[in-house]
């Protein structure tokens, strides 16, 4: 606690309160005020999470900044918050992105501005809630609630086919979550009436039950990650979502699924995790190779980056289920980096879309001639997406491949194909969009990025380079928690 403030509660509720304030500004007559409040709220929301990092004790794996209050006493459901070295990073990542999304949507969104901004603020708070919850019911509430703003964002500000995409997104993720609820209720009964996630970690569970619990969690989390073969909602959702929606979807929401594996599946059902690790690894490698190939010939830029996201998230699940420090830490770093990079790439596509109103690669060509500054930023992010050392994209991939060699050389062999495929689909797209002679009058009329866009890109570029050149601050905070997790997962609970 800094200044006696319950920081996690502030991180959750401050953006939500600001979101409601923004909503209160009403119609688009007050749009400037809505934008102002949203920006202030999002920046404040990020600032309050900084003490979570600076005040974090790196030496312990215990939960920190813990808050515990009764909520529904009858079922012993608590308002129980806390973060460890794993979740704290995602609270920061999430809060970091909210101001960027607000700035990115500053001029672009002209209809229902207040509602748009509010949706992002409220979602930001809810996502922080997901990462900070230590009570299963609280977690579940945040988890489901977070769908609503995203559903609205896609459904209201989305593209022509937005309703199909929004419904697909909602049904896919909701169906997955329902089985998780069943698993949580089972665990509640088994534990003799506790909804404490940390209690579940310590609880002995027989093998069959572990496997069922694992599968239930798997359905919920794999959809969110998303893993092959339940990934097809993501390209549709991305294509239809407005730029800000895509950014948050890729940068934050996908991380929630992967986080679930590490907070629930692995520690609660360690024996099942080991038993089913082969399946998880196989699905991860399919994601890396198959999706990497599928990404190659996409004609829609957003779809291409969406597939690239699935492929990159394959590294995350691969890293988790090889059960060594390189793998797990690499996977976590990959999650953070993917947040920066995919967010940045969707912003890049957004910049083009705002000007030309097309996401088709074929409608572009030679953008570098008219938007050189933009081309430079785009190059950096594209290179990071291809895992170039010195950028954040390298760190996680490198570590996961190192870990995979340790687990089984052939896993690494398949995973490392991303060096070629990842570069191929990213740079081929870059080539067709940015390089070449000016392709048509749309491109000829393009104006380079404005100061506002430059600011967003500059912040992201510095982050991507900073993390690539000096990832230590990101990795050292997670050591204790990851080590504890690995020790825990190695112990049988039968």
């Amino acid at each position: 606690m800094i200044f006696g403030l319950p920081l996690l509660s502030v991180a959750i509720w401050l953006p939500i309160v600001f979101g409601i304030l923004v909503l209160a500004t009403g119609g688009d007559r007050n749009a400037p005020m809505a934008r102002g409040i949203a920006l202030a709220g999002s920046i404040l929301g990020f600032l309050v999470t900084i003490p979570l990092y600076t005040g974090f004790d790196k030496m312990t794996s215990a939960m920190q900044f813990v808050e515990m209050r009764d909520w529904i006493v009858r079922y012993s459901i608590h308002y129980h918050l806390g973060v460890d070295g794993i979740s704290v990073l995602f609270v920061l990542l999430n809060s970091f992105f909210t101001p960027l999304v607000v700035i990115a949507g500053w001029k672009v969104i002209e209809k229902r501005v207040a509602q748009y901004m509010a949706a992002f603020l409220i979602m930001s708070g809810l996502v922080n809630g997901v990462f900070a919850s230590l009570d299963a019911v609280l977690f579940y509430v945040f988890w489901e609630a977070m769908l609503i703003p995203m559903f609205i964002i896609i459904g209201v500000w989305g593209g022509p086919n937005r309703v199909y995409a929004a419904v697909k997104f909602f049904l896919y993720t909701l169906l997955g979550s329902l089985l998780m609820l069943v698993a949580l209720l089972y665990l509640y009964n088994q534990s003799g009436g506790s909804f404490e996630i940390l209690d579940y970690h310590q609880m002995a569970i027989p093998m069959t039950a572990q496997i069922l619990v694992f599968i239930a969690f798997f359905t919920a989390f794999s959809v969110k990650v998303p893993m092959f073969p339940v990934h097809t909602w993501l390209p549709d959702a991305h294509v239809e979502a407005p730029t800000g929606g895509s950014v948050i979807l890729a940068a934050i929401m996908l991380k929630v699924g992967a986080y679930g594996f590490i907070r629930f599946s692995m520690p609660i059902a360690p024996d099942a995790s080991h038993k089913l690790a082969g399946v998880m690894i196989a699905l991860s490698l399919i994601a890396v190779v198959y999706i990497g190939l599928v990404a190659l010939t996409q004609t829609d830029m957003k779809k291409l980056i969406a597939y690239s996201s699935v492929s990159h998230m394959g590294f995350v699940t691969l890293g988790f289920f090889i059960f060594n420090a390189y793998g797990v830490e690499g996977a976590l770093l990959q999650m953070i980096s993917h947040g920066f990079v995919s967010g940045a790439l969707f912003l890049c596509i957004g910049v083009l879309y705002d000007r030309v109103h097309s996401r088709k690669i074929a409608d572009y060509g030679g953008v570098a001639n008219t938007m050189p500054v933009f081309a430079a930023f785009f190059m950096l992010f594209a290179m990071s997406n291809s895992g170039l050392p010195g950028t954040s994209g390298f760190v996680g991939e490198f570590m996961v491949i190192m870990g995979a060699v340790k687990a089984n050389f052939w896993y690494a062999f398949l995973a490392a194909t991303t060096l070629v495929f990842g570069a191929a689909y990213t740079l081929w797209m870059y080539k067709r969009v940015i390089f070449g002679a000016v392709a048509n009058h749309h491109v000829a009329e393009l104006k380079d990025i404005t100061a506002r866009e430059k600011l967003v890109f500059a912040i992201l570029a510095l982050t991507v380079l900073g993390m690539g050149l000096y990832p230590l601050p990101f990795s050292e905070i997670m050591h204790a928690s990851v080590n504890d997790l690995l020790v825990h997962v190695a112990r049988s609970k039968l």
Binding site: K168, Y172, P229, T232, W233, Y290, L293, V294, A295, L296, T297, Q298, N324, A325, Y326, E329, G330, G366, A368, N369, M379, M383, L388, P389, G390, F394, V395, F398, M399, I401, M402, A404, V405, K406, N408, F409, W410, A412, F413, A416, T417, L419, V420, A423, A424, L427, W428, K431, I434, F435, G436, A437, L469, Y470, P471, L472, F474, S475, E476, H479
Partner: protein
């Protein structure tokens, strides 16, 4: 010692700062200040390298970390420097050639709108290359490795509006990535086995793992062989060895200064440097050394053949570079690491000279690169002519020239090797001498001697230097009656400065470098590989070596190459044409570069695109989305469609079905009783 450490830091950081200044603030700095800043920064780097060279010669090696990059598990990943004799040689070569190329660029890129960007890139390249050679661990090596690849990508595609350029740079990057795929897996094995990526730790423990089986499921390979071959696959990409050589000729789409700096003198030699650096590992695996030698031999000979049929001046030199890289690789395979580095150094000078000379010719020819349109240029550009002649003589191994010492040492060393494949390698490097001499002097004669074939008015371009077309290097050539003339001093000065070491550096340095234990413990040679020792026992000074060569086969082969090229292209130009007709099959094979590009485009690029479309259309769209996702949605829809029919909203329908329901239930009840 801390003084030296800041000097070490200065070497890579100065060009980095130069690159940032020219790259981010190029507009504010203007053209002149951009080149001043970057040239100054590279000059600082060069002189700091000189100082470090002195210090290392005085016996002060350094191996230490700069900062901790990250930690994971019990492993610490660091950024650090290893400064020993191998490193300083590379630092000097890199910074010197880079400095020359920076100066040259003022002239070559004078009219290009991307002037600042170009200087920023080549300074960034210098930084990356220095990080690569100064690394003290595999992680940083990989960083430098990929960073030079990035700059190479940016520079090949420097004229990004040209389709050929942006095709070539993507190709270069991807082919390099194929090599890096192996390289990264090799690094992974190193980390797994040694628990560290630090050179010193790995090399110190390498010996105790020499006979281990690789920890790779399903196969039982020797571990050192596996590690070394995987690492070498990386070198095959970066140093353009067969069959990953395909990107280098296309990389000539980039501006000529970078062809000299990156695609001849420095970056492409990174693979050679890497293997030499890893000598403690490679020495433990004869299999890997054999593999290295054979790959190098194939590259040395067969890429040389391709140089014979090329008509683009830069492509001839590009194939020559491939072939010379093959020579270096063969030397590595023969455990003659110091010879490989020696050839790397001499080659850096004379090949940079040849490229910059070609660039000078290209400027004079108004960016016509076809040697069939040249001829007789020696009258008009004497400095370029003389320096190019020096470069060519060095390349073909004329006694007393730098290339002679390094190349002859390679041939000798290969002759002394007993590894499987050394017989073929020896044949390849000896035969290669003739080929090298033939294509080099074919180009030389066609460019500088004979009939003046330029200015035949095949273009109506009226240009001269003043109104040069922006983003140049297009083939437009001289207008009718226009004469070429010597290039400005910023262009020819680097030629002269490079010509000097091209002549003398071999004579001066062969004895200390190869036989004076110059590299000390930086290069390790196993006791059973005695080639270098035998070579040393036969060596009686640089002069004696050159005189001895007069009676040896390679010199006569080189001479034969020069004479036959003179005969074919100066005396009887009808003969090559006749040969071309008679052996059209072989000619087409060479002209098509053994069909590698066609095959790669069809099989790998086309295959990947086809697989991709199939997987997407069939897997994602039809199977997963069509059948499973929307299929189940349709199924639900179908059911509800049937059920909906019953929900008519008429009360008597509901009443009727209720009655039937009650009736059915009652009957069932009765039935069971």
């Amino acid at each position: 010692m801390s003084n030296m450490k800041s000097l070490y830091l200065l070497v890579p950081l100065a060009p980095l700062l130069g690159a940032i200044a020219a790259g981010l603030f190029g507009k504010a700095l203007g053209r002149a200040w951009s080149h001043r800043v970057t040239i100054l920064s590279v000059a600082i780097s060069f002189f700091a390298s000189l100082a470090i060279f002195q210090d290392v010669l005085a016996g002060h090696n350094f191996n230490g970390i700069v900062y901790q990059w990250m930690t994971s598990g019990n492993t610490s990943f660091e950024v650090g420097f290893l400064i020993d004799r191998l490193t300083v040689v590379m630092m000097l070569v890199v910074t010197f050639v880079s400095l020359m190329v920076h100066i040259y660029t003022i002239g070559y890129m004078a009219d290009d709108p991307g002037y600042q960007r170009f200087f920023s890139y080549i300074s960034l390249f210098t930084f990356s290359m220095l990080m690569l050679v100064m690394a003290n661990n595999f992680m940083q090596l990989f960083f430098g490795w990929e960073a030079v690849g990035l700059v190479s990508y940016l520079l090949i595609g420097f004229w990004y509006t040209r389709d050929t350029a942006i095709y070539a740079n993507l190709k270069a990057f991807l082919v390099n990535r194929v090599g890096d795929f192996g390289f990264l897996l090799g690094i992974g094995l190193v980390l797994m086995v040694f628990g560290s990526l630090d050179y010193a730790t790995v090399f110190a423990n390498a010996h105790s793992h020499a006979k281990d089986i690789a920890p790779i499921p399903c196969v039982s390979w020797n571990m050192m062989s596996a590690i070394c071959i995987l690492l070498f696959i990386g070198a095959m990409g970066k140093s353009a060895q067969f069959p990953l050589h395909v990107w280098l000729p296309d990389s000539m789409e980039g501006p000529t200064p970078i062809s000299a700096l990156i695609h001849a003198a420095t970056m492409v030699t990174a693979g050679i440097f890497m293997v030499a650096r890893m000598s403690p590992l490679f020495e433990l695996s004869d299999t890997a050394l054999s593999f290295v030698m054979v790959v190098g031999a194939i590259t040395a000979l067969f890429m040389g053949f391709l140089g014979i049929v090329q008509n683009d001046i830069k492509r001839v030199i590009a194939y020559s570079t491939l072939s010379q890289l093959g020579y270096m690789t063969v030397a590595l395979g023969a455990s003659a690491y110091s010879v490989a580095i020696f050839h790397l150094m001499t080659h850096a000078f004379f090949k940079a000279l040849l490229f910059l000379g070609a660039g000078s010719v290209i400027i004079a020819m108004h960016h016509d690169q076809d040697i069939r349109n040249m001829g007789g240029l020696r009258k008009y550009m004497p400095i370029t002519w003389i320096t190019s002649l020096i470069g060519s003589l060095a390349l073909i191994g004329t006694p007393f020239f730098s290339g002679f010492y390094s190349k002859d040492s390679i041939i000798e060393a290969v002759g002394l090797s007993h590894l499987p494949g050394s017989g073929f390698a020896y044949f390849a490097v000896v035969a290669g001498v003739f080929v090298t001499a033939f294509y080099s002097f074919r180009m030389y004669f066609l460019v500088f001697h004979g009939e003046e074939r330029f200015g035949k008015g095949h273009h109506d371009h009226q240009g001269d230097h003043a109104d040069e077309e922006v983003s140049a290097d297009h083939h437009h050539g001289l207008a009718h009656g226009q004469k070429p003339h010597e290039t400005p001093w910023v262009v020819w000065l680097p030629l002269v400065l490079l010509a000097i070491p091209s002549v003398v550096i071999g004579f001066i340095t062969i004895e200390p470098l190869l036989f004076g234990n110059f590299f000390q413990e930086a290069i390790h040679i196993g006791a059973e590989h005695e080639g270098m020792k035998e070579l040393a026992s036969e060596f009686h000074g640089a002069t004696a070596m050159a005189l001895h060569a007069l009676t040896s086969l390679p010199l006569w082969l080189a001479l034969a190459g020069v004479i036959s090229s003179w005969f074919f292209y100066m005396k009887r130009p009808d003969i090559p044409a006749a040969i071309k007709r008679t052996f059209s099959g072989i000619y087409t094979l060479l002209d098509q570069k053994y069909y590698f590009d066609r095959f790669n485009d069809w099989f790998f690029a086309g295959g990947a695109r086809g697989t991709s479309r199939f997987l997407w259309n069939f897997g994602d769209v039809k199977l997963i989305d069509g059948l499973m996702v929307n299929g189940s949605a349709r199924l639900v829809g179908l059911f509800s469609g049937v059920l909906r029919r019953i929900q008519t909203g008429y009360i008597y329908h509901y009443a009727f079905s209720m009655i039937i329901g009650v009736f059915v239930l009652l009957s069932i009840r009765n039935w069971f009783e």
